[in-house]
Structures are given as C-alpha cells and as structure tokens.
Amino acid sequence: MGAGLIRDLGFGAAALVFLLLIPAFGGGAGLNDFLIYVAAYGLLALSLNLLTGYTGLVSFGHAAYFASGAYSFGLLMQSGEVSVPVAFVLSVGFTALMALVIGAICVRLKEIYFAFLTLAFQMMFHSIILTWVSLTGGDQGLMGGIPRPVFWGIDLSGPESFYAFCMVVFVICALILRQIVQSPFGHTLRMIRDNPERAVFLGVNTYWAKLLAFVLAGAIASVGGILLALFASGAYPEFAYWTMSGQAIFMIMLGGSRVFLGPLLGAALLQGLNHYITGWTEHHGLVLGIVIVVAVLGLRRGIADFALDWAQSRRERRDAPADPAPAVSGEKA
C-alpha cells in the first residue's frame, strides 16, 4: 500500500468523520440537505473533471450519465423487485455500459467535435426521456416517489441515516476518483492531455485510455444522479438537459480544474451562492453572473487553482537564496 494511498485514505476518513459529526454539532436539517445536494453535484463535477481537467476532453454531455443513474435507479426501485444496493450497482453498471457505447464513438474525435458529439448524445437521451412517457413519465418526471426499503439494517427514510449514507457514498466515490488520477493511468491521461503524440510514441493506446476515462467518469456521475434522485424522490428530464452539463462546467471553472477537489469547491460555491442569492433577491441570475464574472476575470482561474499558485509562489520566494546581487549593485555603483 503506497504512502499516497494511505494519506488519501486518512484524509478521506477524517473528512467522513467530520461530515458525519456535523449533525451532532447542531448543523440542522437544512445544512444536511445542502451537503447532500453538494455531494450529488460534486460527484458530477469531479467526474467531469476527470475528462476535462485530466484528459483534456471537454464534454458538454456529461449530465446524460447523471440522469441515467437517476432514472435507472428510480425505475428499478419503483419496480419493487430489487433492493437499494442491487439497484445501485445495476444503475451504475447500466450507465457505464451507456458511456462505453457513446464513448466508443466520441473519443475518436477531438476538441470541439468531441464536445458537440457528447452534447448531441445528451440531447438524444433527453429526447428519449421526454418521449418515452410510459416509462419515464415524460416531462412530468418519474412520478410516485422512489421507495427506500430497509437494507442491511439501514433505513434511508430517516433523514439522519440518509445523510450518513450520502456522505459515505460521496467520500468513497471521491476516493476512487482520487486513486484513479494518482495512478499510472491517471498520469497517462495527463500525458494524453498535454501531448497526445508523445503518448502514442511511448506506446500508449490513447483511444482505450480515453475510453476508459470516459466510462469511469460516466459511472461516477451516475452515482451523483442516484443521490439526487433519492434526495428529490424522483428523476426529472432537467437532469439530462444541457444546462445541467453547463452547470458542471461552471463548477469546474469556479472551483478550479488543476486541484483534485477544485470542482467540489466549485459545486459548493455555486450551490451555496444559488441558495443564498435566491433567498435574497429574485434577480439571482444577475447577481450570480456578476459573482462568476468577477471571480473568473479577477482570478483568471478557479479559486482552488489560484490558491495553489499563490501557495506555490510564496514557497518559491521563501526558498529562494538571499539576493546575491552585490555584483550588479557594484556595477551600478
């Protein structure tokens, strides 16, 4: 077990304990709901960043997998035939399969062609949801709620147990993503992003590497969709609309793409701002837009990326040798 894995597991465990202790310290149901919301959208953004930030594939259609997780899980639970864990695994598996089929076509393309093809597949998925009314409920969404039968002694009907479930699932998924990006495979993805020709010369099959990243990102996004479906007790076509993918891209822009948890910070910021501003003014779109413009133009990168650069420049200044400039001074003198 490498030092990096132990460190990440320790960090994950500490984060999980902290999150689980929040209700005990009077966080309140409102804060719990907010954190569940951030966890769901955080997984969407973190998984998208595996493609966008680490592999250089800007997907405009990532919400399709988010929605796929929500719908497949909701439909399986409404069937009454399967338990929560089985529905969970089947939903993630179905979404991974869907991502495999779509990814096999999309990852052959580059840049804007890749982006638009992923968007096209997402809108096709959205159209299927709208038109297959007998299965999906069409634009009314998956009606009737999502049953939460007790499994392994866990009752998701209780708000505390549901919160704990969401946090555990979130931390596990974040750790999985973290291990992916820290692995040799993750470094291969960065190489493909920075210099795909060099990766090919070094014997990397870039197609399969990108396809695997695409499938993994889709599978993790589906977990976010499952959490949101459980939270909202339904699945809705808006989950698969292009604006949902747009939100995920905004989260990455706001939080940062070069720091692993940057997209999560972006998700928390965007959802927090949304919550705060919506309660304050009806012109929330205007205010939110100004905040984002100021952040993007002022920092010219995500907040976490900015913090990283700032810390790095500080460290370099500190580590730099004392100014050996007397010769220059002497010349001037």
């Binding site: 309140g28 709901d33 069409g138 709620g145 692993f260 919506t278 990283l308 700032w310």
Partner: protein, 432 residues
C-alpha cells in the same frame, strides 16, 4: 487539497503568480465562502407563523409565480389585518425554484428545515408539484398545491399524500366541461371538421387528448382532421398558421398558454384566420394578462374561465380585483384565485385547530372544508375529502370581445355531470 494536475509548472510559474489585486479578490471569495454557511443556521419558529411558498419567479413562466405570490400576499395581509390568529401573524416566505423540479424539492425542504415554515403553498408547475408532493409526504407538513392541473396529482391514490391538497382546477374537470360546451356549439353550428394545435409536451398532449375524448363523446360526428404540435416556447408559429389556412377546419382546440398563446394569436391575426368564421377553443386564453398582452383580441374566441373581475359579477370579486391591483404589477390570473383560495383554506384550518400546525391535524380540517369564495357562482368552494381536491370552482366557458378586451357570455359548467363523468374516468384509470 493537494496539487495533482499541474500541466507544466515552468510555464505556470511566471504567468500565474497571483498579484495583490488577485489576492484581494481571493480574500473576497473566501469571505463569500464563509458566509455561505450562514443561511443554514435554522431559524426557530418565532411569534409569526411562517408559510413557505416554492414557485417560479424567473424565466418565461414567471407570471405563474408572481401572480400567485401576490395573491398569497394579499390573503395573508388581510388575515393579519383582521388580527391574525390569536394575535399570531402569518408570514409568507417565497422562494424561486426556477422551474426545476429538483430545485423545487430542495427549496421546499429548506423552507421547512431552515426557514422554519410550518405550512407549504406549492405554486409550482406540474413537474415541480410532483417533486414538492414527495417532499411534503416525507416531512408531513400541510401543503396546498395551487397551480398543477394534472389530474393524477390527487386523483391517483398511489401519489396522494395525507397532508397534501390541491386548490387548483384540474384537467379532467375542464375536459368534461369544455367537451360538452364545444360539442353543443359544434352540433348547433355544424362544426364537424376540427383541428388541434397544442404545445408538444405532456400537459399539451394530455389536455388535448382529454378535450377531444369528451368532445367526441358529446358529439360523435365530429372529426379531428389535423393535429399540430409546436414546441414549447416556440417563437415562430407561421408554419402552423399556414397549416390552418391549408386545412381550413371549422374549429380549432388549443392548449397553448401564456406567451406561446399570445405569439400564436398575434401571428394568426396577421393572416386573419378568424375572418372566415373559424371557431377557436382555448384552455388558457381568458387570463387577463394574456388578454391584455394581445394587440388585437378577435371577437368570438372561446375560452374556459381563468379569471374575470366581472364573473361572477359580485362585490366580493370586484373587491378582490381592486385589492389585488393595489399590490401587484400584474392583473390577477387563474393561479391568483387558486392561491388566494389556498390561503383561505389554511386560515380556516388554523382557526379550527386553535393554532396547532401539525400537518395531520390541519389536514383533517382542510379535508371536506368549504370556504366562502369571491370566484365561484355558488359563492363557495369545497375541498373534496376523498381525493383532496377542490370542486365547485368555475369551469364556465365564455366568448371574447374586442373592446374593452375581455370575455363575456359565460356559460356555467354542469358540476353534476362533471362529477359523474369524472368518476367513470377514475374507474377507467384504475383509481377507484
């Protein structure tokens, strides 16, 4: 956070070293992040009884939310002005869901869990209402849906929640009333060749199918010769207008509503499609803001009642119109009277429970309750206990007049027949 993804440190170093200005921006962002935690400090129930209202206040259907909010505000103000409840005032807390169902669910949870709201008025469109319905099923608070017309929300026993009610018209009632009204006109005037033009989404298709179903029940000889399904929020209806000119039907039924309906009629007026006696039947035209948004309202268009200050022609209705006008930038809509009625039910239930806001206690008082209403021909509206939905509300159909723009000649719906046919429909759907 650990750095793991820098593309090229040597390149990043010179161009990305933060400046003093950027540090200030970052500090501001940090303060903003810290402040985000503030709203989640739960507010305990204070002296005021808080009623939460998730609705749509932005986007193309914002009038749904604003006209609902203003009606609720009017009703709450009147309640407080009359002394409130045992000295305890009611406070309305309105939040914008932006028309997103998952946001509606989150906002509703937040209104209860963080804002301390004890009752929910759900002024969402249908998909949002289904999301809110599930949330109030979990939370157990009293909820009145005031905008969703989808019958299944309360008619389907699998979806019904013990503390959720509908204070809004519903599709099956309008279909029976509209079908009968249109069928009688069709038989009297020989309107045998029909066309439909409705928005291409669940509400548009369901509403139109139900109208046609009952039209053909009451007038079996009628034939629907063409169907047009423009997209929701489509800006250009020229293709559909020209299709009407090609098909030359005797009558059209349309479930278009809001800005879409205005756009269609404006473009139809350019082609003067009503000049030849074409009859137009609409499920959403008689809302005053829609009527006033039209540059030219042709004479003789048919619409189901949405709201009319002159119907019913009572002092109470005119007083409502005047009071609403005093606080709102828009005229009352269908959603306004429905929301106002919801607050009436809530106030009456609160009086009956002596201020107990327990969801089930209030629900027992709302179920089967009757309130005095300025909006109905009978002067009352009843919340039917068996399926938590209102009956005896206006399902009248009227005809448009160009000057002053509005509707007249309202023909009252036959509620006895509506209830009989609704029961048959429920049996067919497996709801009974």
């Amino acid at each position: 956070m650990t750095r793991s993804n820098a593309p090229n440190p040597s390149l990043a170093k010179s161009s990305l070293t933060p400046s003093r200005r950027q540090l200030l921006v970052a500090a501001g962002a940090g303060v903003a992040v810290s402040a985000l935690g503030a709203p989640f400090v739960a507010r305990g129930a204070g002296a005021k009884l808080r009623i939460g209202m998730p609705t749509i206040l932005s986007g193309r259907v914002a009038i749904l939310g604003t006209s609902s909010r203003d009606a609720a505000t009017l009703a709450v103000n009147q309640f407080n002005a009359s002394g409130g409840f045992g000295g305890r005032e009611v406070e309305l807390v309105v939040r914008d869901s932006k028309g997103q169902p998952d946001e509606a669910a989150r906002v509703t949870r937040d209104l209860v869990n963080t804002e301390g709201c004890e009752i929910i008025i759900d002024a969402e469109a249908s998909s949002g209402s289904f999301a809110v319905n599930e949330v109030v099923g979990d939370l157990g608070v009293l909820c009145l849906h005031t905008c969703s017309e989808t019958s299944a929300l309360t008619a389907d026993p699998k979806l019904r929640k013990p503390t959720a009610f509908r204070s809004a018209r519903q599709g099956i009632h309008d279909a029976v009333a509209g079908g009968k009204y249109a069928a009688e006109l069709a038989k009297a005037n020989g309107l045998m060749k029909w066309m439909t033009c409705s928005p291409d989404y669940a509400y548009g298709r369901d509403n139109t199918a139900q109208f046609v179903e009952y039209l053909t029940i009451f007038a079996p000889d009628v034939e629907v010769v063409n169907e047009a399904w423009p997209k929701l929020f489509e800006p250009d209806y020229t293709a559909y207008v020209t299709r009407v000119l090609q098909v030359q039907p005797d009558a059209i039924y349309s479930a278009l509503w809001g800005g879409d309906l205005v756009s269609f009629l404006e473009q139809a007026n350019l082609y003067q499609i009503f000049a030849g006696g074409l009859q137009w039947f609409s499920g959403g035209l008689a809302d005053p803001p829609i009527v006033n948004a039209l540059k030219q309202l042709p004479e003789g268009l048919h619409s189901v009642f949405r709201y009319d200050p002159d119907y019913p022609d009572s002092a109470a209705n005119k007083a409502f119109y005047k009071d609403f006008d005093a606080i709102s930038e828009t005229e009352p809509t269908n959603w306004s009277w429905q929301t106002y009625t919801a607050v009436q039910f809530i106030n009456q239930a609160l009086a009956a429970t002596a201020g107990n806001t327990d969801g089930m206690a209030l629900a027992q008082e709302v179920a089967g309750a009757t309130v005095d209403s300025p909006f109905t021909e009978s002067g009352t509206i009843t919340m039917r206990a068996e399926d938590h939905t209102i009956i005896d509300y206006p399902v009248a159909w009227g005809r448009s007049r160009p000057e002053p723009k509005g509707f007249q000649d309202w023909e009252r719906g036959d509620w006895e027949q509506i209830l009989t046919m609704e029961k048959e429909w429920k049996q067919r759907q497996g709801y009974l």
